[in-house]
Subunit: 239 residues, 2 copies
């Protein structure tokens, strides 16, 4: 098994994803919210790229969710804070979600065999599920504005640690993956501080979202693995 | 002062380089060879992208140097091993050089104010020179085949360490730069092993170039800083 870490959405080439398991990572905050929403009883999340697409897909009873530049979109029901995805209002509802980077990465992964939404809060479960699927793995860090983001890289490093633990034969890993694993090993005892100091974290802190960072920094909090099936993210069931 | 690390040549956008000091990094082996050649008395190195351009630029007395897929180009005088750049035959000669990634990164940096060839062997000197120039800095990791390479990343991490030491006010650093700094801090006591285990290193070892890796892994061996001036790399003199 081979593991390729990719530093941002722009670097992902569709043809490289064929026959692979892709773990899309957007720790602050899209994939953390997707996991949290499914854990808290929403029945599925549809990722779309644009606000227009969100409105097109919407059907009566659905919730519209997302952000542009960290803030709520006018007319939308949910913004991009994980605490909103714990609300009783999401129970049994479909959520149509558009964010700046994470949902774009999910959309771009269409050529993959299996597409999983991964974050620090469900990293171990994602690693175990990906190992069972027994295909080469892409760790797609969503990044911000076509650049690498530390929080996604640390999550990829954690996934690699967990993959090595649960694979009988150690996977081969590309250079970026080796780097991220080493960096995670160095920072794992102060992940919250690392998330606070990275560029997205600084921006979120300045906007008052400090508690979101604390929540998203919790490693392996949930065992739910969201997978994209016919365009909708639902809990994965691995045979 | 702001420091941006960029993971590979493809990610560099020409417009982002304007008014910047760019440190082009290709540890294995283009920028290591450039430094070694200038230290050992060649009078200048002209980086070109293609074999055709190398032949066009060539004038009587010049040496042709370069590689494709780690091996000598037919009809060329020098390959891509640093020990060749210590030979008495290079004394007083111009070298026309084309390599797979490093010379491409130098060519792509044309919009920058100052373009420096940086490697582990001259990293401290490059950091000091860049700090004196007092402009924002781009650490352009050349990478391989449009992907990040660990050896270039570790060198960028060392440069950041050295920049922090020699700047009165600590520079701001992008997320990739913070990651590379942390990774360098973790691996600095076994850089040679890290270079041996990364993808380029493995390939070079399999081709018998183990001593090249050992040479290129020596940190801060030289104080010479090559800068690209009117298309030719010569020792930089900072006011």
């Amino acid at each position: 098994m081979h593991v390729d870490a990719i530093s941002n959405v722009t670097e992902a080439r569709a043809e490289d994803l064929v026959n692979k398991t892709v773990l899309v990572i957007d720790v602050l905050r899209a994939t953390s919210n997707i996991v949290t929403g499914l854990v808290n009883g929403c029945c599925g999340i549809i990722p779309v790229e644009t606000i227009e697409q969100a409105n097109e897909v919407w059907q009566s009873g659905d919730l519209l969710a997302g952000e542009r530049n960290c803030t709520l979109i006018a007319g939308f029901d949910l913004s991009n804070s994980p605490f909103e995805y714990m609300s009783p209002m999401i129970q049994g509802k479909r959520i149509i979600m558009t964010t700046t980077n994470g949902t774009r990465a999910l959309q771009k992964s269409q050529m993959a065999d299996t597409i999983i939404a991964c974050s620090l809060i469900n990293a171990q479960a994602c690693a175990k599920a990906a190992a069972k699927l027994n295909q080469d793995i892409i760790l797609l860090c969503s990044g911000t504005n076509e650049r690498f983001c530390l929080e996604d890289g640390l999550c990829a490093g954690l996934v690699i640690e967990e993959l090595i633990k649960c694979c009988d034969t150690p996977p081969s890993i590309n250079d970026l993956g080796m780097l991220l694993r080493a960096c995670f090993a160095q920072q794992k005892d102060h992940i919250t501080d690392a998330l606070k100091e990275c560029s997205t974290g600084k921006r979120l802190c300045s906007l008052g979202f400090w508690e979101d960072i604390q929540f998203c920094a919790q490693m392996n909090l949930y065992t739910l693995v969201p997978a994209l099936q016919q365009g909708i993210l639902v809990p994965l069931t691995v045979r």
